[in-house]
Amino acid sequence: MHMADALISPAVGGTMWAVTAGLISYSAKRVKEEKDEAKIPLMGVLGAFIFAAQMINFSIPATGSSGHLAGGTILAILLGPYAAFLVMASVLIVQALFFADGGLLALGCNIFNMGFFPCFLAYPLIYQKIVNNRPTAKKILIASLISSIVSLQLGAFSVVIETVISGISELPFKVFVLLMQPIHLAIGIVEGLVTAAIVLFVARLRPELVGIKDNLISVTQVNIKKVLISLILATIMTAGLISWFASTKPDGLEWAIFKTSGKEELKPKDDAHDFFAKIQEKIAFFPDYAFKTNKSEHSEQEVEVRTTSWPSIDAGTSVSGLVGGAMTFFLVFLIALGLKFRQNKIKS
């Protein structure tokens, strides 16, 4: 659920950058205050761990698909919220720089969506509250599941909000929410189960790493596979029910589509004629264009050019625009060729 630069407006990107920068400097301050020098190398190495672990795909039983770890919740359990947030931010920075996953301006959004919710909301308010100081396998499983699901749902929801506020994508809010939330419910369940399984595994061998004191532990094996299959069945059934309801009452979606595509009525023909006259005036400046002779035949269609959404548009400008755009591209290409030639000359 990486946001991309291409989909956000500078205002949204800038705001989220500012928010994330604030969170990073606050977290860095808190980590510094802990005065635990060993923690910084540990954070770095765990970041590398998450980064590499994300690349291992595993098969999800009974579905035929595969998943991977996202890591926000497990990091918060292992490192505490502040350090975990910094590690998550680093993972996303490396992804943005080397794999262009997301992008530099969208980095603020991505760090917030994938770091803030698991570290600062789900971990302290859900995981710690459920597990508190008497951890059992069941509690760990439930806590990891709920915190992963909640953080992924909130993360997905803020992706939707950031995209809709930016206004670059035409996806209506409702449709986008309906697309994102169910997918991330499934991802959240898998993430929660993976997190719980890792925590339980580590708890048997080095309980102190996952914040469990030795004497309190009563970790019994939980059959993750069973839990997973029953959860998947429950999800499929819920999804089936919801879609059945949705199909008997389809107006929500249709309304959304109507609202975006048909919110303005077509222009009446009279206006259109005026408009065409204007276009013709403009076109007369370019008598060489082949268009011009076709004009009279297509006059009715020509005029459908909309002025409301893009007030400056008219055919004259768009022709010049197209020619100019092509020429600019050609110029840029020429410059590239020239530079390449120069480089080759230097090399030889």
Partner: protein, 270 residues
């Protein structure tokens, strides 16, 4: 090669590119970082139906790739490979926004297609700018630039650690995953329970490794600070690079250069 090994190879390749030498490689990373960010903000600040005014911005990646001795093929491949999300979300634009914007002969071009195309252009420009930045400066230099620009030290220090151990852990993980594939014929992914034991074991190993690293560093006098030898200074070259580009971006943003050129040419045709 499995995923992890392929990924490490890619990061390693970018590091190799960054260690080359050119006029651009020698510039202060701060200048490159600021120029890149400014470029991205300018590109995405356009109206969502804008296409032709984005075209002049291609000069930035193209000049940098040429002067920086990078390969077009490499950058293009990376752009193609990444972020299906933008395209996935953008492709809905032609579906939801069917108002006709331009008509060429009998072909209707709807607003949705225009804005989709605009998203694709933005995507190419911003992604290539980010890749070029790290290929010209290298990750460590970008980190030290971040520190000089005021990012808190603990964050930068752990970021440097992270980068350093990315390769080592990546190699280790790659070997483990390869070993498990060798033992599970005809399977493309590991099963859930195997995945858990692999990842948990690697996690425990990672903790041990972090402890060893910390001890080794303490015995060499680590006091919580990492001192970088790289000296950074802003010279005339940086100032010219940065303000030259920023001036050009503002010019491209404020005037419709392609349109002026187009009017000039079509005017001449007359």
């Amino acid at each position: 090669m499995n995923n992890i090994e392929a990924q490490n190879f890619d990061i390693g390749y970018i590091d190799t590119l960054a260690s080359r030498s050119s006029v651009l490689h020698r510039l202060d990373p701060r200048a490159k970082l600021i120029t890149t960010l400014f470029f991205i903000v300018m590109v995405i600040s356009f109206d969502k139906y804008e296409i032709i005014r984005l075209v002049p911005f291609f000069i930035y990646p193209i000049v940098l790739i040429s002067l920086g001795n990078l390969s077009y093929k490499f950058v293009f491949k990376r752009v193609l490979m990444v972020s299906p999300f933008a395209i996935l979300v953008g492709i809905f634009n032609p579906i939801f926004d069917k108002r006709v914007l331009i008509q060429l002969g009998t072909i209707n071009i709807s607003c949705g297609w225009i804005s989709f195309f605009s998203i694709v252009l933005r995507f190419i420009l911003t992604v290539s700018a980010a890749i070029i930045l790290v290929s010209l400066a290298g990750f460590n230099a970008v980190c030290s630039a971040l520190e000089k620009l005021g990012v808190p030290e603990p964050f930068v220090v752990q970021l440097l650690f992270f980068y350093r151990y990315l390769f080592i852990l990546g190699d280790e993980f790659g070997r483990v995953v390869r070993a498990s594939f060798f033992r599970a014929v005809n399977k493309r992914t590991v099963s859930f329970s195997i995945f858990i034991s692999i990842v948990s074991n690697l996690l425990l190993r990672t903790f041990d490794r972090a402890e060893r690293i910390y001890c080794a560093m303490c015995s060499r006098g680590f006091d919580g600070h990492i001192r970088l030898i790289r000296s950074m200074k802003l010279t005339y070259a940086e100032v010219i690079f940065m303000f030259g580009w920023i001036f050009l971006f503002i010019l491209f943003r404020s005037t419709n250069f392609p349109l002026k050129l187009g009017v000039f040419i079509t005017g001449h045709l007359r």
